[in-house]
Subunit: 342 residues, 3 copies
C-alpha cells in the first residue's frame, strides 16, 4: 500500500495557478483511522487529490491531528490557520504519474524527507507539468509577472533579487534533513535524497531523484537518477552521467567506500571500494586494459563490462596513455573529523 | 543606423557616482519621429548622452511615449515618477567605445534583451570604466562604503547578505528573456545573450558578450566572446576558451547540434554536428590523428587546422592515448521533454 | 609575541550558544598600553577569553579606544552600544588550539583581514568545535530551530531563503579586503586569504586557511591549505589537492606566474613560472617523461620528484598519451585590463 498526505502552504500566480507548495511535515503511510477520519470530515473519497484548505478546514484538521497524537502536524495547522497564502491538503493514494503541481511537490518532499528513495516513486511527465518559476527574495513569481515586480521593487528603492529561474526550487528552502552540511544550497534541488552524515561542498551538486546514503563527501555532481553509497567520496568537479541528458536509460550508481577523483567522471556504475583516478573520465564505451596482480595486461574490455563490480582501480597509465583497471590496493577512508560533526 | 534609448533607474554611491542602472524596457532602432520629439522636449542634440531625469521630465516622457503608442514605456515612466532613486535617460546615437556607466549598462541590456548579438557592439575599455560593486540584499553598494553598511545592518539585528563583489551584476536582476531556465542566476552576467529555449543548469555559466542561439543545454562554461549554436549541448563542467584570459584573439564558436561532453574543453571553434568526448580537452595546438572511415590513421594535424569544420568526432583512444578525429556517426538530439517546456 | 583583540556582535541560538560572531575591525599585535588599560577596566587577566559585553562595557571600551587614537574602533563601539544582539570582547594571548566559537571566528577574521597568512595560525579541532549553522536571509539559525522559523516565515507570507548549511560562513558577509573581485561570494569561506588584485570568477573557490598573494586570477578551486603566488592564473574548473580530503599531509602551493589550465589539476606543488596544460591532472604519483631542450625523452620520474621546481611545462603528448615535462618556453602574463581595476 502507498499513501501520503500533507497540509501545505504555497504560492499562486495572478491566474490562481499553483507555482509551488511547501509541506512542513508530510505523513507517509499514515494509520488507517486517520485517513478515515479525514475522509469523513474533509469529504475525501479516494484517489490523488489536492483539496483547497480554508480556515475552518485547517481548524478541523488541527483537531483530527491532535486526536491521533500527531502534535507536530496539529501545531502546524494552528500556524497555517493564521496565514493568508493559499493552503492545500494533498492526499495521494496511488503512486501514479503526477497530474498537479501540489502532487509533484509532495513527491519531491517525500524523497527529501527520506520517506522514499530515488527511483521508488513515479515522476513521469514532471517536466511538462511543473511550472517554471522565478525564485526571488520576495518568493515565487511567475516569470511573466516578473518584470512588473522588478519595476515595482525599484520604485520602492530595492533591487528584486532573483536567485533562480527553474522548475525546481532549492531543497533547503523546503527540507533540511538531519545531519547534513550543504555549503551552497543553490546546488541541491528539492527531490534530492541527502543521507545523514553527507557533506556537500561548494562544488557538489545533487539533482532531484538522486542522492546519497549515509556519510558521503560530495564535491562533484550527482546527476538525476544517480545514487551514491555510504562512505564514498566524490572529488571536486567530478561527473556522474545522468539519464536525462545522457540519452541512455542505464541508471548509474556508486557503491560503498568508492573514491571518484577530482575532475574525473563515470559513465558506468561502480560496485564497492572502487577508485577512479583524478582527471580520468570513464565512459561506458572506453576500452580498458585489465591488469593482473603483477600489473601485466591480461585482456582489453569495454568499461561497461566492468559495471557494478567491486574492488577496482581505474587509472590512465601516464606513460602509455592507456586506461587500466587493476584490483584496488586500498579502500579509502573519509576524513573522520570532517564528517562526524554534521 | 544605430540608435538606442532607454529610461533607467539606478544607484549612486555617496559621491553621486553611478554604480548601476536598470533599464526596464530599452528601445532599439526607434522611429525617427520619437527621437525628434524627445530631442525637442528634453533638449537632446545628438551623440551618446546620459540625461538626469527629474519628475517633470519623467512626466513629459510619459506623454511622448503615449503619443507614439509605446504604452509599456509610458507606464514605466509613471512608475519612475514616484521613485526616489536616481533616474536617467540614456540616448545612444553611435556604437562607440562607451564612456559612462549608464552607457555600458544600456549596451549590456541590449544584448540580454536580444536586440544585438555578442560581438555586434563595442565594449572597448569596459573593465576600466565599470565600477566594482558590492551586490547585496540591500542593493548595490560601493565597496568602500560596505563596512559601514555591514555594521549598521548588524546594529539593526541583521546580517547584510553580500552576494557578489564584481563589475557585472547577474543578468536575472535586470533581464529575464522569454523561454529560458537559469538554475543558478549568479552564474549568468548581464550582457549574456540567452536564446529562447536555452536551459542553463547549476554548473552552466555565461559571461557577458557571449551566449546561445535558441534551444541549447548549458551545463558548462561559455567564456566571454563564445557563442553556441541552436541544438547544441554543453556537458557538465565543460570549458570553452575565451578571449579575455586565454591570451589570444581567436573567437571561439560552436555550431548547431554539437555535443561537448562533461569535463571536456575546446580551444578551437566547432562547426555543426561535432562531438567532443567527455573528459577530452582539445587545445588549438593539440596534435590530432585523423582517421578514415575504416578507422585507420591517415594523417596527423594540429587541432586548429580543423577549426570550424562540421561532422567531426573527437576522442582520446583509450588504448593508445592518442587524440583521434573521425566523422561523427550520429548527431545528438536534445532530450525533448527537458527543453520544450521553458 | 602573539596578541589579538576584537569587539564583536553575533548570534545565539535559543540555548544561548554562539552560532557566529562578526568582528568589524580586529586589532592584531596592539600596543601594550592598550592591552593594559583594557585589562584593568574590563578585568582581563590574560589567556584566551571571550568576555560578554553589556552596554556600559561597550561605552568603557569606546573611551579607551578614543584615548589610544583608535577612532574606527571607538566609533564601532558607539554603534554596538545601540544594538540588541549578543556582543563579545575576544582577547587572544596565545595561538593555541581554539576552544570557543568566538575564538575560532576571530582567527578566521585575522586571515581574511590579511593579518596572518594561511598555516600561520592554529586551527586544531576546528571542525568538532564549530557549530553547523543554517545561513539565511534572516541571519544565522540553528539547524534544529530552522523548521519552526521556516513555517513562521510562511505564515507571514514569505519564503525563508536558506543559502547555506555549513560550519563556515561566506567571507564577504564578514570581510571584503581591498582590491578584490569575487563574482560569487558563496564560494569563498571566511578564513580565506584573498590578495589585493585577486579576481575570483564564478567558478573560482577558496576554502578557509588558503588563498592568494597579490594579483591572481582564480577560476579554479583553491582547497584548504593551498596558497597561490602573485601573478598566477588558475583556469576554469582546475583543481588543487587539499590536505583535508586528499588524505595526505603534503601542503600544496603554487609559485608566481604559474598557469594551471582549465579543467587541469595538481597534486604536487609548483615553483615559479610553471604551466600545466588544460585538462591534464598531475597527481603526485603520475610518471612523467622529462624532455630535454630538443624535446627528446631523457628520463622517467614521478611527478612528486619535480614538486616545487620552477620553469616547467607539463602536458600530455596527444599522440603518445604520455605526460611530458619540459622547460616552460614562456611565462604567462595576466590580462592587464582585467586585473588593474579592482
Amino acid at each position: 500500500m502507498f499513501f501520503a498526505l500533507a497540509a501545505g502552504i504555497g504560492t499562486h500566480n495572478t491566474k490562481d495557478d499553483w507555482l509551488e507548495v511547501y509541506y512542513p511535515a508530510p505523513l507517509f503511510q499514515p494509520a488507517h483511522p486517520l485517513i478515515e477520519k479525514i475522509s469523513s470530515v474533509i469529504g475525501y473519497t479516494g484517489g490523488n487529490v489536492a483539496i483547497t484548505l480554508d480556515n475552518p478546514s485547517c481548524h478541523a484538521l488541527e483537531n483530527i491531528f491532535h486526536q491521533h497524537g500527531l502534535d507536530e502536524q496539529a501545531s502546524i495547522m494552528t500556524t497555517l490557520e493564521s496565514a493568508d497564502s493559499p493552503k492545500v491538503l494533498m492526499l495521494m493514494e496511488h503512486d501514479l504519474a503526477p497530474t498537479t503541481t501540489p502532487e509533484i511537490y509532495l513527491k519531491l518532499h517525500l524523497i527529501s524527507h527520506r520517506f522514499v528513495k530515488p527511483h521508488e516513486i513515479n515522476f513521469k511527465n514532471i517536466f511538462s507539468l511543473l511550472p517554471n518559476v522565478a525564485w526571488t527574495i520576495d518568493g515565487a513569481i511567475d516569470p511573466e509577472e516578473l518584470p512588473y515586480r522588478q519595476l515595482r521593487a525599484r520604485a520602492e528603492g530595492r533591487i528584486l533579487e532573483v536567485t533562480s529561474i527553474d522548475k525546481f526550487p532549492k531543497m533547503a528552502n523546503y527540507v533540511v534533513p538531519s545531519g547534513v552540511r550543504i555549503a551552497q544550497t543553490a546546488r541541491v534541488r528539492l527531490g534530492a535524497y541527502v543521507g545523514a552524515g553527507t557533506t556537500i561542498m561548494h562544488e557538489g551538486f545533487i539533482n532531484f531523484n538522486a542522492g546519497t546514503e549515509g556519510r558521503v563527501m560530495v564535491e562533484g555532481r550527482i546527476s538525476a537518477g544517480v545514487f551514491i553509497g555510504q562512505g564514498s567520496d566524490l572529488g571536486g568537479g567530478c561527473s556522474t552521467m545522468g539519464t536525462l541528458s545522457g540519452g541512455n536509460d542505464v541508471i548509474i550508481s556508486v557503491g560503498e567506500n568508492c573514491l571518484i577523483g577530482a575532475n574525473a567522471g563515470i559513465g558506468i556504475s561502480l560496485g564497492n571500494r572502487c577508485t577512479v583516478e583524478a582527471g580520468l573520465y570513464l565512459t561506458s564505451t572506453s576500452k580498458v586494459q585489465l591488469l593482473n596482480e603483477d600489473q601485466h595486461s591480461v585482456e582489453i574490455v569495454k568499461a561497461k563490462s566492468l559495471a557494478g563490480l567491486s574492488d577496482l582501480l581505474f587509472r590512465r597509465n601516464s606513460i602509455t596513455g592507456a586506461i587500466e583497471c587493476l584490483v584496488n590496493p586500498s579502500a579509502i577512508t573519509l576524513n573522520e573529523e570532517l564528517h562526524t560533526h554534521n
